[in-house]
């Protein structure tokens, strides 16, 4: 098998390169390989043929004219060399080929499904001699058409969004080939009257490793320089003559329109739809509309040559539209090392805003903190321990984990459990090793960081990172030695409120837009929403001054991220339990709405 698996892979590569496989010039090495090669060719029938270049027809006619005049057969090998459109070697051009293939393939599959039944009918009527054969074929065809639907469902990129998938994939591939880049980003704001103002202009150097150098050239923060070399982050503030030091991860200063984050966001989007082509900063670009999960659609311009984003425009919200664009962009091998090396400028004062002290061994960390935590016996595959630190204020140990050849940083924070676990108000409430646990998808306000926190044997464990909650659960299981349960999002009829509160969906949708634009952020906090509701119940005429029922007296007892129940621990309250739902959007950007309550008994 070992030999044939490589051979068949090589055979596929040759066909994908549109060259004549060497196996077509000589016999196959074995019957098995011959059969497999035939299967590959048959499978490729699902894609449309790659047609020759435009010049093929003219050359063919010229050759045939010459042949007719000479009365002989032209030398196929020499002629074909000149006629042949060479397969494109450039990776970006290959992507074009793929896009074309995929577009035509979609059409082929559509044609396939559309015409299938028609063909069966034609055959049955026309060909009586072969009726048995065709009837059997028709049966297969009918069954296959049903299967096509199933396969299309299983592989959405085979269906209507095929073209868009090819754009996303091309971006992903281009990003993987990208080593580093240097560009100028302009952020502009357009108001409802169409007036555009430059908000900021910044120079950026960034690479695939996560290093970056960012200098504000114009705007409110002009002169500010932020550098992250993945080991530490520092910010030069010329106005203050100070350098602030921060931990490298998690990074709360990540810059807008980082190509890597941008492509990741597009990959996770619900839909990506091509809507046109335009020229951006002198470069030809494809304009797509991206609809993120739980967000409004925005426009993205993708450079045709490089397949990477050039410009992004948010939808107009509250008469404001933000556009971020690379006015200059160059791809480079690496960021100049001097930009990433830390040096305190003369006359500058260093402010250590990093509350961590790096240590070299776990023993050292344990000695400094007096903690003796349980550590994971095993860590998920491909990860390695990248660093250890102790917090300078408080007794806590931080273990940094990196991942071989892939994105994904994970940090394990260990501290003494001084108080019972008090989950954040927006947290999903789950279980880790039979203990209540907090699941957050915006750890310390950073939307790209997820976290799981729980207590075990007088210790508090927090595991966080820029990976999914499901992947983090694997860490939590390794560390805790028990199961992790994230509550499922489903309608639970057993938990219906005794008194329902009517909801105006139009108003809710309008409120969601308002919150998206930065207004009323309290609507994202179920505790706050429940508190306001409980207070309005006792003071329907309105509240002046402090709320009679305090925020501290509202406790979330259940939350699966979409539905939550708040318990009101206040004698003055009419409601004992308040039922909340995310009605408009089901993620952490969705507002909470009260849908009912249970009165105090």
């Amino acid at each position: 098998m070992k030999e044939n698996d490589k051979k068949i892979s090589g055979y596929i590569d040759q066909l994908n390169s549109e060259v004549k496989p060497k196996e077509h010039k000589k016999s196959y090495s074995s019957e098995e390989f011959g059969e497999m090669a035939e299967t590959v060719r048959r499978l490729r029938v699902l894609r449309e043929p790659v047609m020759p270049g435009e010049e093929f027809q003219d050359k063919l006619i010229a050759d045939m004219m010459s042949h007719a005049q000479e009365g002989g057969i032209p030398d196929r090998r020499t002629q074909s060399k000149s006629n042949r459109s060479q397969p494109k070697s450039n990776s970006i051009q290959s992507q074009d080929d793929r896009s074309r293939l995929q577009e035509s393939d979609t059409q082929a599959i559509r044609d396939n499904t559309k015409t299938a039944s028609k063909i069966i009918g034609m055959r049955d009527m026309r060909d009586t001699k072969k009726s048995g054969k065709w009837a059997r074929r028709a049966m297969i065809l009918t069954a296959a058409v049903a299967t096509v639907a199933v396969v299309l469902l299983a592989f959405p990129d085979w269906g209507n969004h095929r073209r868009e998938v090819s754009i996303v994939y091309a971006m992903d591939m281009a990003l993987q080939k990208l080593k580093a880049y240097h560009g100028i980003i302009e952020v502009t704001e357009t108001n409802g009257f169409g007036e555009t103002v430059l908000q900021s202009k910044r120079e950026v150097w960034a690479d695939q490793e996560g290093n970056y150098y960012l200098k504000e050239l114009q705007g409110y923060y002009e002169g500010l320089i932020t550098i992250n070399n993945t080991k530490k982050e520092w910010q030069l503030r010329p106005g203050e003559k100070r350098v602030y030091l921060f931990p490298a991860f998690p990074d709360s200063y990540r810059f807008t329109f980082d190509l890597g984050s941008e492509v990741d966001e597009v990959k996770q989007a619900l839909t990506v739809r091509k809507i046109g082509e335009e020229v951006v900063s002198g470069r030809e670009a494809v304009l797509v509309e991206v609809t993120p999960e739980g967000g409004l659609p925005y426009h993205l311009w993708i450079d045709k040559e490089t397949d990477l984003p050039l410009k992004r425009q948010s939808p107009m919200q509250n008469q404001v539209q933000i556009t971020v664009a690379y006015t200059e962009l160059a791809f480079i091998e690496e960021i100049p090392p001097e930009l990433l090396s830390y040096q305190l400028p003369i006359d500058y004062e260093e402010v250590d805003a990093n509350p961590e002290l790096p240590v070299t061994t776990l023993y050292e960390a344990k000695t400094l903190t007096g903690l003796n935590p349980v550590l994971p016996l095993q860590i998920p595959k491909d990860y390695f321990l990248d660093g250890i630190a102790v917090l300078t204020k408080g007794e806590a140990i931080k273990l940094y984990y990196g991942r071989e050849g892939a994105k994904g940083n994970v940090v394990l924070l260990l501290s003494k459990a001084l108080e019972p676990l008090s989950p954040a108000s927006q947290a999903i409430l789950g279980i880790v090793n039979d203990m209540p646990a907090e699941f957050l998808s915006n750890y310390e306000g950073m939307s790209y960081i997820n976290s799981i926190r729980w207590q075990q044997e007088n210790m508090e464990y927090t595991v966080f990172g820029d990976i999914t909650l499901e992947d983090l659960s694997e860490w939590a299981e390794e560390i805790s030695g028990g199961k992790v349960i994230i509550p499922e999002v489903k309608e639970d009829n057993s938990k219906q409120p005794k008194i329902e509160v009517p909801v105006n969906m139009e108003a809710e949708e309008s409120d969601q837009k308002s919150v998206d634009a930065g207004h009323s952020p309290w609507r994202l906090d179920p505790v706050f929403v429940a508190q306001v509701f409980a207070n309005i119940l006792i003071s329907p005429e309105g509240i002046v001054g402090d709320y009679p029922i305090a925020y501290e007296n509202v406790k979330i007892i259940e939350n699966n991220g979409v539905e939550a129940i708040a318990q009101i621990n206040d004698e003055k309250s009419i409601a004992r339990y308040v039922y909340l739902r995310r009605l408009v959007r089901k993620d952490d950007t969705g507002i909470w709405t009260v849908v009912g309550y249970d009165p105090m008994e």
Binding site: K20, L60, D97
Partner: protein
């Protein structure tokens, strides 16, 4: 003599312009690569041109003859032990039936393959879609699936083996 030349030129131009795309597609479906399809298309015309011009064959009727020649070239070029079925000859062919069968066969073929694909595991389907249908390299597929290149090759091998068996089985059921 001069008129004959003009007529011949017009005929060749018209013949090539009107038929090459269909013929090329037909050949491409058999060989599945552009290089070979171009070569065989050209050789087909070279072999057919004298017959078609000297016998006043109407262009509309030439398509099936061209395909038959193309099929014979493919069979000649590939070793006989790699081939299945018998060689076709121009004399035996009924052009109308041949041209029509080709089209509907293609649709049936696609449907058969899709059905067989539906019986593979999701992982196997993904590898075949990425590698064979979308045309990604093994490395690109590995990155996309977050697997090692070797693992992708093994999944690919097993998928093609399984698909071969499924297609054989279908063949047995149908014929």
């Amino acid at each position: 003599m001069g008129n004959k030349k003009i007529n011949q030129k017009e005929f060749i131009e018209k013949l090539c312009t009107e038929t090459w795309q269909e013929l090329y597609r037909y050949i491409y479906y058999k060989v599945q690569n552009r290089e070979e399809a171009q070569d065989i298309t050209q050789e087909t015309y070279a072999r057919a041109i004298s017959f078609l011009t000297n016998n006043n064959v109407r262009i509309q009727e030439s398509s099936a003859y061209l395909k038959t020649i193309a099929m014979n070239i493919i069979r000649d070029q590939w070793r006989s032990d790699q081939r299945k079925g018998s060689i076709l000859y121009i004399d035996e062919i009924n052009p109308e039936e041949y041209a029509c069968e080709d089209f509907s066969d293609m649709i049936t073929e696609r449907a058969i393959i899709m059905e067989a694909m539906g019986n593979l595991t999701k992982e196997q389907q993904t590898v075949l879609i990425l590698r064979v249908i979308k045309g990604y390299s093994a490395t690109e597929t590995a990155k996309y699936m977050k697997k090692k290149v070797g693992t992708v090759r093994v999944i690919q091998y097993r998928a093609i083996k399984a698909l071969t068996e499924l297609l054989k089985e279908q063949q047995r059921e149908v014929f």
